[in-house]
Amino acid sequence: MSNKAFAAVAFVVALALAVASQLITNEYFFTAGYTVLLFVILATAWNILGGYTGYVNFGSAAFFAIGAYTTVALYNAFKAPLAVMIVSGTLVAGLAGLGLGYLTLRLRGVFFAIASLALAVVLYVFVVNWDFVGGARGAYILQPREVPFGMPRYIHLIYSVQLLMAALALVVARATERSTLGRGLAAIRDDELAAECSGVPTLRLKIFSAMMSCALMGMAGTTFPYYLSYVEPSSAFSLSYAVNSIAMPLIGGMMSWIGPLIGAVLLGTVQQLVQVTVSSAWNLLIVGALLVLFVTLAPNGIMGWVEARRRRKEH
């Protein structure tokens, strides 16, 4: 399927789901749905740098929080419209990814991973001490009284926007994977020196892929303050974002755009079910157990396992 056809399908499906969701009145559906979609975006974004290019980002929470706090800052400054917040949060997170990439991706190896972890800590401290966005107390974001497009409640809008953003993330990831850029990134992941000697401008591609990945993570965060109406640093910088955005692609498969989608839907849904039936405290434990299981039994994730089976059948 061509990129355009896939984009058309993705957005039509997202729109259809958004329209259908207008009929749902159960509040919990949106809580669960929003969270799963959030993870679809985060996992897909993480995979652009982590899966396609082979550079691990431990700081997903930082870029997510950049998106969330851009919204808070713009809300406090002049109650900017949602669209402005989404675009701004995406850009700011992208710039942060560009900066971090420029500083650390010149060196091969773990430097980017360590720096991304450090960035999360530094930004956390920065936000805790920044009064304008509420500091450690957190900030309240009031959902507008008037909901556009005749939707029943504001959560319907946030959920629909999240659906469209997830579709966008998938379209971007899939197009990247199949482009010349995607081939270059895969070459970097497999052997950076050989890639460079094959004419691939490795530094430029790595930085670009970091920027794209981080921008999408920021985008995922922009709607977060409206979803809860309240943001505080420890929830925006939660470990769960960093862990899940690594675990989901790993479990789904990191070689293609569909892996993170499968991983996020699967793991996200399981977490929601456990949260309701058992306790939310179990969430990270489940992720940990599944990770161990997959790393030992299917190191290339679900898609990797399927692909290997298909190949075996052919021969």
Binding site: A187, A194, E196, G199
Partner: protein
């Protein structure tokens, strides 16, 4: 004398206190076949790395087609037409053999040669046929045998459509008939006007292939000339066999 394609002048490379290359001059003319030999640790691979841009030389200049490329990163040198194969094969393991060739075809060959995107696969297949890997085109490159990996190394360097190809010990571990295959392949490049620097320990191959041989010993070039006179050179004999 034709103008030099590659001109290395006074190149020095140090690793800490160790001088791996000392004021090495080295010249390759367009379409020329040059053998580069020397005992282990003599600086052959370091010289190749400096030429290809994967290492930076501290002193001296490297010019390609008259242009100073000393400051260029490796990918720009490849794009200008200077490709290399690696001594230890470095395949793109998650890709098929065919896709391995698509990378340099997309990123290097197209920057200095007309090559429509639609013809990339056709071109890659053609190169695989030349090196005798056509039947492995759809196989994952990570699972190839050592011999096939060496062929893939060479094929991938060729896919960059270079004017100068540096083959770093492409024949180590190959059988006699495979050595002949690779030799025929490298010799065929001459017809396409591609100059080749061959680094090799298989002396039979070097002697047969080279129009000129340069000898490096302990980071210095001690001989450079036609094959017969070089192997007759007393200093070369001493370096290889001891006194």
């Amino acid at each position: 004398m034709a103008e030099a394609l590659l001109e290395v002048r006074g190149v020095t490379k140090r690793f800490g206190g160790f001088t791996a290359l000392e004021k090495v001059d080295f010249l390759v003319r367009p379409g020329e076949r040059v053998g580069l030999i020397g005992p282990n640790g003599s600086g052959k691979s370091t010289l190749v790395n400096c030429i290809a841009g994967t290492l930076r030389n501290e002193e001296g200049s490297i010019r390609f087609e008259g242009r100073d490329i000393g400051g260029h990163p490796a990918h720009r040198r490849t794009r200008l037409g200077l490709a290399r194969s690696f001594q230890i094969p470095k395949p793109f393991g998650s890709m098929t053999v065919l896709d391995n060739l698509c990378v340099p075809l997309l990123y290097a060959a197209r920057t200095h040669e007309e090559l429509a995107r639609s013809r990339i696969v056709e071109e890659a297949t053609h190169i695989l046929e030349q090196v005798g890997l056509a039947d492995r085109a759809r196989a994952m490159s990570g699972g190839l045998t050592q011999v096939d990996m060496r062929k893939l190394e060479l094929a991938r360097a060729m896919a960059a459509k270079p004017k100068l190809l540096i083959s770093d010990e492409a024949m180590a571990g190959l059988s006699a008939s495979e050595v002949d295959d690779v030799l025929a392949l490298l010799s065929g490049l001459k017809e396409q006007g591609v100059a080749v620097i061959m680094i090799e320990h298989v002396m039979r191959a070097v002697m047969k292939f080279s129009e000129r041989i340069a000898v490096l010993v302990a980071g210095r070039k001690i001989a450079d000339g036609d094959p017969q006179s070089v192997v007759g050179n007393a200093e070369v004999v001493r370096a290889y066999l001891g006194e």
